[in-house]
């Protein structure tokens, strides 16, 4: 309130310009949180359902607008005397007509009849009423169906209005006309001043609006409007399209109105209204369907949902076991990265997106392959995150590659053996992206919310062990988000591999897989293979150095690993285009789970740089034009990269 509207004795100060306004913190809610500032261009609104404010626009009367057949009087009480609540219990009264002043025509009062209007239309007129006298006509059926003609109705309303004005702001004029024989109400006229819904302090009058009154019809599963919300609107927990529970029907409407939601086929209706008719109605939703709708997990409906029992304390992993498990899981991530990459190189997809006019098969193959590649990149991130958690736990990095995926623990591994658990136990293998391989990828990424089931379950076991044993894991708050991310992204991988399978299902394997050379590699190809391996080993080493140096490298080392990865990717595609796939061979001495010292890191970098440069030089000497060109550009890039790596390592100290 500006200061010039000063109230007696109140010393006020009012920030006038923008800097003054920005310099204050004002107590209380901002003006845009006032009820009348609520969203009104959609219903029920965002902050509150504005219809609920106008329920009590006249004292002693509560109206209901959430209906198609108009507004009804749902409750009545003091100070109204002409109608009793018993009377309206079985025979509701409808708002037929109203006489008052509104925002658009504020000089003279106007008359509004509500024949064949829905509740929202009636509400809109009431919402626009100005403060002051209002007269209403109520009757026992929808619309205006009284024995009165409209002229007499207007005369009555005017008379009630004018008498009320004469009587003052508190005056209430009431007239109830009943049938003589039955005493049933024929019509009622009431004139009052429109009630204020805010009290003197500008807050909602608590006696008019009990808690929850204004929000009771907001969009929530237990109210009717849940039906209207579509995905990405605010009911983010309501899906639009789901798979049926038995998995037989894909892409069905979550709100479909069929008695057997599992078996009945969905009708194909494209028009909006037609589709709406096949969905559960507002009434269905309010009357219990909100409770019957199935839970949806991973896009599939499920009528049964059980939370796995929390493992007892003895089932949790100890700190050492968590470290051992993560040390192993990092090597699994590594193995999966390589398997996925190999599958990527095995298809006919080009490295870069196909031209816009490419045929559909080319585009499909590229899209599917690219999806696998993106999952591989995600796994690289998981590999990194697993190592970051190890770092947080003070354990050395783990960059080796697992020889078996889902391997049961050996006694020397330090991992905990769980006898109730199913171990996948599949040897690492490089396979083209055949259907069998696709199934394997789907299987290995299958989600599991249950601890100790599948790979995903191993992370769940770690999550629970860390979560429920804060004393053992003071770093809990830093670890939990990372593990959760790995689990959540794993769910996405399952879906993405499933969609890869779907999109390739119309092609035969020979349509999308490269024909691999059966001859032994040529000398140039040998050089390329060596180069790919050198890059591969280089990436492992850089990552191990990164986690030995830790954050002190400022992320530069990881960036270097990514750039090396790009070089490897380029060389692998060149090789694959000749029908030979990179072999990802292990170095003579695979990395062990230890911290590298600075000196060791430096000598390792020097040696690796020399190996890569050797491979590049021989490739430049004997390779094709493409190979020469690539070797040339990678030579300069690698030299600069390794110089930078050595500088970083040199400037770090030797602390693990």
């Amino acid at each position: 309130m500006p200061a010039n509207n000063s109230e007696a004795n109140a010393l006020k100060i009012f920030p006038r310009n923008l800097t003054a306004r920005a310099d204050h913190i004002v107590r209380g809610n901002p003006t845009n949180s006032r009820p009348e500032s609520g969203v009104q261009n959609c219903f029920p609104g965002l902050e509150l359902d504005l219809r609920n404010i106008e329920q009590v626009f006249l004292r002693g009367l509560v109206f209901e607008y959430h209906r198609e057949d108009g507004a009804i009087l749902s409750r009545v009480g003091s100070p109204i005397r002409s109608v009793t609540s018993e009377e309206i219990t079985n025979r509701p009264l409808y708002l037929w007509a109203m006489y008052g002043r509104n925002k658009t025509d504020d000089d003279e009062p106007s008359l509004w009849g509500f024949r064949s209007q829905n509740g929202l239309d009636v509400w809109a007129k009431i919402h626009d009423l100005l403060p002051g006298r209002v007269a209403v006509l109520l009757g026992p059926a929808p619309g205006f169906s009284s024995p009165l003609d409209s002229g007499s109705a207007e005369t009555l309303l005017r008379a009630a209005y004018d008498n009320g004005v004469l009587g003052g702001s508190d005056a209430i004029v009431e007239l109830a006309v009943r049938e003589e024989s039955t005493s049933l109400i024929q019509y009622v006229v009431i004139s009052q001043n429109r009630s204020d819904y805010l009290d003197q302090q500008g807050v909602l009058a608590p006696d008019l609006f009990p808690p929850g009154e204004l929000t009771k019809s907001l969009c929530a599963p237990w109210v009717y409007d849940f039906r209207d919300c579509v995905c990405f609107y605010w009911a983010s927990n309501k899906p639009d399209i789901v798979d049926s529970e038995n998995g037989k029907q894909s892409f069905v409407n979550f709100l479909r109105k069929v008695s057997d939601r599992t078996e009945s086929p969905p009708q194909d209706v494209t028009q909006y209204r037609g589709r709406r008719n096949l969905e559960l109605s507002y009434e269905n939703m309010v009357n219990g369907w909100w409770e019957k709708l199935p839970v949806v997990l991973n896009d599939r409906e499920s009528t049964s949902f059980s939370v796995a029992p929390t493992p007892s304390l003895t089932e949790y992993l100890t700190r050492d076991q968590v470290i051992a498990e993560l040390t192993y899981l990092a090597t699994v991530e590594h193995a999966l990265i390589v398997e996925y990459l190999y599958a990527v190189y095995s298809t006919l997809a080009s490295r870069l997106p196909p031209a816009a006019d490419a045929d559909e098969n080319t585009r499909t193959i590229f899209a599917a392959t690219n999806e696998v590649f993106r999952v591989a990149v995600d796994e690289m991130r998981h590999f990194r995150w697993a190592n970051e958690v190890l770092k947080i736990l003070g354990a050395p990095p783990s960059v080796d590659r697992a020889s078996t995926i889902g391997q049961p623990p050996t006694p020397e591994s330090g991992r905990k053996l769980n006898l109730t658990r199913k171990y996948i136990s599949r040897p690492f293998a490089l396979k083209p992206l055949t259907r069998e391989t696709q199934d394997w990828f789907i299987e290995v990424e299958a989600p599991s919310q249950v601890a100790n089931q599948d790979l995903d379950g191993m992370y769940v076991a770690i999550l629970e062990s860390v979560n429920f044993q804060p004393d053992l894991f003071p770093e809990r708050d830093r670890i939990l988000p990372v593990i959760k991310l790995i689990i959540d992204e794993g769910h996405g991988h399952f879906n993405r591999f499933s969609s890869v399978k779907r999109s390739l299902s119309n092609l035969s394997e020979s349509d999308y897989l490269r024909e691999l050379s059966t001859n032994p590699p040529t000398p140039q190809q040998e050089k390329l293979l060596d180069l790919c391996d050198a890059y591969y080993h280089s990436i492992e080493e850089v990552i191990q150095i990164t986690f030995s140096i830790g954050d002190r490298s400022g992320g530069l080392l990881l960036k270097a690993a990514v750039r090396t990865m790009e070089s490897m990717h380029e060389a692998s595609y060149l090789l694959a285009s000749q029908g030979v796939l990179p072999m990802f061979r292990r170095p003579p001495t695979p990395p062990t789970s230890t911290h590298f010292s600075r000196q060791h890191s430096l000598s390792m970098l020097k040696a690796r740089s020399a190996t890569i440069q050797d491979s590049l030089q021989s490739l430049e000497a004997i390779g094709s034009e493409d190979e020469k060109q690539m070797a040339n550009s990678q030579m300069a890039r690698t030299a600069a990269l390794y110089q930078q790596l050595q500088d970083i390592v040199n400037s770090s100290d030797d602390r693990p």
Binding site: M1, P2, A3, N4, S6, N9, A10, L11, K12, I13, F14, P15, R16, N17, L18, T19, A20, A22, D23, H24, I25, V26, R27, G28
Partner: protein, 447 residues
Amino acid sequence: MSLQLVQLTLPSPHEHASPIGTENQSFNAEYRIIETPVGPHIFIADQSRLYAIDNALSHSESELHRALGELIVLNEERAIGLAPIAVPPLHSLSLNVAQACNMACSYCYADEGRFGGKARLMSEEIAFRSIDRLLSEAAEGEPVVVGFMGGEPMLHRELVHAATRYAASHCGEREVRFSLTTNGTLLNACDVQLFHEFPFTVQISIDGDRESNDLARPMLGGGSSYDRIIESLKLFSIHGRPKQLSARVTVTPLTRDLPSVLRHVMSLGFDDVGFAPVVVSPNLSTSFSSRDFESFLADMIACGRIALDELKNGRPFPFTNFLTAIDEIHKGTHRPYPCGAGAAYLSVNAEGEVYACHRLIDDPAFAMGNVRTGLDQESRSKLLARMHVDRMEPCRGCWARYLCGGGCYHEVTRRGRLGCDYIRGWIEFCISAYAELSSSNQYTHFS
């Protein structure tokens, strides 16, 4: 509504006779109580904050001091510290394409464009190098402004055209805008088309109706400069208007009846009209003395009241001096410098030497490098250190200093600060007008 003021609380003004930073500074320099038709207001220098206050508050000394203690901060939390700003990237560069003029205005600070030297024209090479310099010194991706000044820039029309096209074709993705200050007597259809084609702000100097304009602004070879301007304005209606077409009225102590001048020039069809008093001129009779400023202030306020009435009634009235002030007060503009000279704005002479602004061309004290060899960052930095308003007397004791900035370098170095009372009076009037406007229902610009 109650307001919680969250400035740190200080001892009452009586208790501290002191310091901003480490030096003595008057508490009075931190605020000003301004009576307005919509009640009293407090203007706080720091952040140029403006508060409406109760009459009761303004009359209670103890309450007022308590409020001031909460509003005024005298330490490092102030928005403007004593440290000069770092030299910012260049935003705007004006090219003095013709240091010569076809007119003989009695008050010309630039000595008919020669700035005391010989008449000369800028070469194309210098103009292009200047633009290259602007583009390379500007912040990545930020828009830049190329200005054309003189003398009369249209004496070197070919260069204005060439430089405009050069800048537009060399700016890449960056937005480039243009400004041109001209006497408006030499414009032809091609020029007007150029100003329409590229985003130009064209500012034409005109001093009133035909009689008063021609008296103050005679052509060198005789003839009416007013008539020529009117002819030029017709060209704009035929060939298209620039983005902004402004009139600049130069006011001397001899100028009479500013409201009439304002209304007349506005009637000619400019987008906006502004006044500038002559402070520095070779001719003493045409430059303002301290006393002249008193009547100038009264005239300006008369013009301001006209603008205020029009705006309050929902009608536009583009009187630049007034609108700019109102806008800055609304935003709470606060700066320790009067303008961007030497900072984000520089000016190049015909030979490619760079100066702090177009008025300071050829002044060695404001030399800032050369477009060929580079800008002199040290000189720019020293200028900003030297001209910080909190380091200057009497500025640092003035409540209006962060809106004024300490006065035009050109005027201050040549004549001192003659117009301080005028500036304070004008700002006070504008603050009052702002208070009225912002509480008026008709004027919705601030809502």
